[in-house]
Symmetry: C2
Subunit: 291 residues, 2 copies
Amino acid sequence: MNGGRTDLARTDLTRFSINQMTVKQLALPELVDACVRSGIPGVGLWREPVQSYGLDKAARLVRDAGLTVTTLCRGGFLTATDSHARVGAIDDNRAAIDEAATLGTDTLVLVSGGLPPGSRDLYGARERIAEALADLAPYAADRGVRLAIEPLHPMYAADRCVVSTLGQALDLAERFPADQVGVCVDTYHLWWDDLAPAQLVRAGEGHRLHSFQLADWVTPLPAGVLTGRGQLGDGVIDLREWRRQVEAAGYTGPIEVELFNDALWARDGREVLAETVACFLEHAGKPPPEK
Amino acid sequence: MNGGRTDLARTDLTRFSINQMTVKQLALPELVDACVRSGIPGVGLWREPVQSYGLDKAARLVRDAGLTVTTLCRGGFLTATDSHARVGAIDDNRAAIDEAATLGTDTLVLVSGGLPPGSRDLYGARERIAEALADLAPYAADRGVRLAIEPLHPMYAADRCVVSTLGQALDLAERFPADQVGVCVDTYHLWWDDLAPAQLVRAGEGHRLHSFQLADWVTPLPAGVLTGRGQLGDGVIDLREWRRQVEAAGYTGPIEVELFNDALWARDGREVLAETVACFLEHAGKPPPEK
């Protein structure tokens, strides 16, 4: 026995993926190098740093390193009412889909967008997301990319994402074929919801579980509530139980750790990456087989 | 026509109640005086300022002024696992019930409590609330007081209230008689939830709507997310539509405005009270009858 701690030597990182935002202080080549040295097989990338580095160059870098790009973050922001803004959002999402295809990932994560200025109409905003998906989903499918609607915590409903629960995300996704539109399950956003377990089952039965992300919930929340996601194990979420339920629903894909945390960003990126791997194994890793 | 603005002269404040916390800079006698001068018929009181002023003195003050005490805020915090803390919480809630009875209000608002230190068990915490209610509900009923479970926004689930939706609050309340345990509907906490309208109908059919509170949602949220509730009309919540749905569900009681807002607290309390009345009439008042 090992006192309840995970025996690192007897686990593996096959399913682990590091989201680029967790260690955004690392330039892309540093991140790729650190992953290779650590035996990390997957990375979730963000559009802006990829564009800064150069899309084709980035695609080559990760491919040559043998890394899997588990997701591209992110498309979305599809709730505008202004027709010019709507056309712009569609164009931008088509570009994101093209970038995902170039990077070789099968999943583009969508953050749906908040209420347009002056609007109080959550229902209308959700309908406009569906209208945009009707355009984007077949475009993505033609390029081998699935769209993963990410419900964000209800504290973001006004200014970032009007899709707040897994149930709402599935209501939207199910209007489209499962191989075109699914969901991204992130523990940070969904941990509080007593309806989430049943919705995980629904998502699994419908083959809609396209991405699984981990972050822990710590308080107090910082001003703006964007950069206070906790390192795995530092907060109140039963991460191992979430992994169990997501896998029981049929998910066998990568498990991405995505932390937005000012304190982690202020530290050495390679050190944070090593810590994140250790925390993943301790708090969300598979328990070692019995001796 | 009046250009869409409410005609103040043709509305009334019969249903309006000011929660003491909205203008906490006013001492209780100032608050009572301001209410009387403004034609405000109801106040929601908080235990701490009432205790500071003196319970019996406070009860006499509001009674002599002809004010209705629409709620007492608040009991709750019933999620402890430690047996000593649990006994203390029951005692404290019995005291709150006694205070409510002395003040002549029929409604004690309950904020259920967050996760105990080190716990990740939301389900267990919710069960402990039910256990405590089994003790407190009959005690309250004997004193003419109803308990109103207030679901708080999911951003408070870890450290303040594990009951995050109206559905969860009703799941708890429905284990007890409707005249003993109901719910407090606060727009600030529930506005984002697409399941809330159906739950309002459920609450109304079960005669569980014991309190209705208004606050608006504004962003960005402040650090700690406690003191950023928006003045009515400043945010994204369709307050008039919420009032319509709550009334369609059968609610005919007071409508309390409860704002926690550092900027409002820094201003003259009587001025904030007058502004709050005007905002209530404009954004949540009954539309005037057609001429």
